[in-house]
């Protein structure tokens, strides 16, 4: 297992994600300042220095500290949203692939609708109804981005449904619930883990986008997206206010995508047999 770390994608992506988790968990120990209450207009718009490693924003808050605390929001939202998406997508895809018939048609139709309309538009509409804030953010993003997990689990089930061990399970008297959860799901988990990992990245991206638009996490909570939004006016005079939160989003999404890529190589059945 350890030599898998020689795969560069897995090592770099995994490293970034692990680092992020450490930063999020130990945020109070890492951040030198309070992300919200240490506002001091005396220090507003300071460039990076030894006192403020990444500079300060227009209210004099330490950008480094805000980014560190922002990791908590990004990871919480990203993981919870992807869990909801994965649960919905896998439940629909698994059952559609297994049962077929009208249920399959219905699920496929629903999936096509979700794929046709960009997730962010759906989420925007839901957020507009529910109002900003983390709970409505979770609902809006968690209910709208399950189409890929659904597609992939359905396709995997279709290709595995007729394999002898599934047929055998049927002759042993197992019902659909057992066959789907105990026989099919573990055997198709590989690609689903990959999709879910990358899904965390896009959920973080979506959270940042909605917060940027003022519909997600409400200021002064340190969301990377709302930090970007606040930095727009000072882009010329104080670029660091925008650059570092943007970099944080970029590295985080890259990390999850690399990790997903690395996991794909690792969990690919053909790759496994080559080992």
């Amino acid at each position: 297992m350890l030599r898998q770390l020689r795969r560069p994608n897995l090592a770099v992506g995994g490293g970034i994600v692990v680092l992020l988790i450490i930063i999020a968990v130990f945020a109070p120990l890492i951040a030198p300042h309070d992300p919200i209450h240490d506002a001091n207009l005396m220090y507003a718009g300071e460039p990076p220095s030894t006192a403020f490693w990444l500079g300060t924003d227009d209210q004099g808050r330490d950008i480094f500290s805000r980014i560190v605390y922002g990791a908590r929001i990004a990871l919480t939202v990203g993981l919870l949203v992807e869990m909801m998406n994965a649960a919905i997508g896998i439940a629909l895809g698994l059952s559609a692939g297994y049962f077929g018939g009208w249920w399959d048609e219905f699920v496929q139709g629903l999936t096509n609708v979700m794929l046709a309309v960009p997730t962010i538009v759906f989420a925007l509409a839901l957020m507009a109804v529910m109002g900003p804030g983390i709970p409505s953010l979770l609902v809006a993003l968690g209910l709208t981005d399950w189409a890929y997990s659904c597609r992939i689990s359905r396709a995997q089930v279709l290709s595995m449904k007729s394999s002898p061990f599934i047929q055998a399970a049927r002759t042993m008297g197992y019902g659909p619930g057992h066959i789907m959860l105990r026989e099919l799901l573990p055997n198709i988990a590989g690609p689903l883990i990959v999709v879910a990992t990358m899904g965390v990245g896009s959920a973080i991206m979506a959270e940042a986008s909605l917060s940027f638009l003022g519909l997600g996490v409400v200021p002064p909570a340190p969301s990377w997206g709302s930090m970007l939004a606040g930095a727009r006016e000072q882009l010329i005079v104080a670029p660091w206010i925008a650059v570092f939160p943007g970099l944080a989003i970029f590295v985080t999404v890259l990390g999850f995508n690399l990790l997903g890529d690395g996991l794909r190589d690792l969990l690919d059945p053909q790759g496994r047999s080559r080992r």
Binding site: A168, R170, T171, M172, G173, G175, N187
Partner: protein
Amino acid sequence: MSGTEKMTERTEDVLRIENLQIALRSEHGDDPAIEALNLSIGRGEVVGLVGESGCGKSLTALAVAGLLRDPMHVTGGRILLGGEDIAHLPNRSMRSLRGNRIAMIFQEPMTALNPLMTIGDQIGEMFVLHRGMSAGAARKAAIAALDQVQVPSAARRIREYPHQLSGGMRQRVMIAIALACDPELLIADEPTTALDVTIQAEILDLILDLCRERHTAVLMISHDLGLVARICRRVAVMYAGHLIEEQAAGQIFATPQHPYTRGLVGALPRLGRRLVEGQQPLTEIPGVVPAIGDFGTGCRFAPRCPSAMARCREAVPRTTQLPQGGRIRCFLHD
């Protein structure tokens, strides 16, 4: 075997298929695939079902297990398991029969086990599902079951995954799963086809020994007439969805009556034949099995039959009793 035991075995039919009809649903109605199939198996009896690919052997087996999937469906007749008609049971009740009273073994031991579960769990779950055992008791029962199929050091093996076992071992595990709940009927669908010749005999003997001990009835599906003649008491021959001949195993080999059976027996290579008869090619049956919906009006074998008569192409012969015992569906015996 004592005389009285023989008597009870004859009268107690574990499985009786009566006038079974299976059809393929298509846009212009039902195309019959299997027609008027009658077959019975007594307690502890081993019956062979032979025929070439596509003649309906496996379809019959699936119908008995209630596993026909759309567009195939039972359109008539009865399937009696211990006297109870199971042909039209709801799914849920059928599930409690499968693996419990009717078990199946398949051709592909390499892929018939879940690759991500230990074999102990796969055997044990049968006891949990059908016997309501606790996990601990199921584990013990799994070890015992594995022991019975002569897998060495069973207690250690139950923690292994299918890929750690050879093909023969996997088929032993499949047998352990199939016989876990002491089924009344075991359907073995070419259980040894995918195995090495040396392993084949071991596996067959194992199945037969275990079933003899438990008085399990066995429906042995095969296209290997030699194998079936060796291990079965009776042999039924199917062709294109019709059961065309049924005789005691010894007789069907020595005196096949239906032209199709004669063709099958004639097509078997026999050691030393060339010394007696000189160099001659093996006889073959020309042509292929007709497709479903393509059966025509007469005897389904007529187009390939060397002794076909005019009436063979006009009407389907009925099933008649053979004087030496057994049944046949042929105008030569009508």
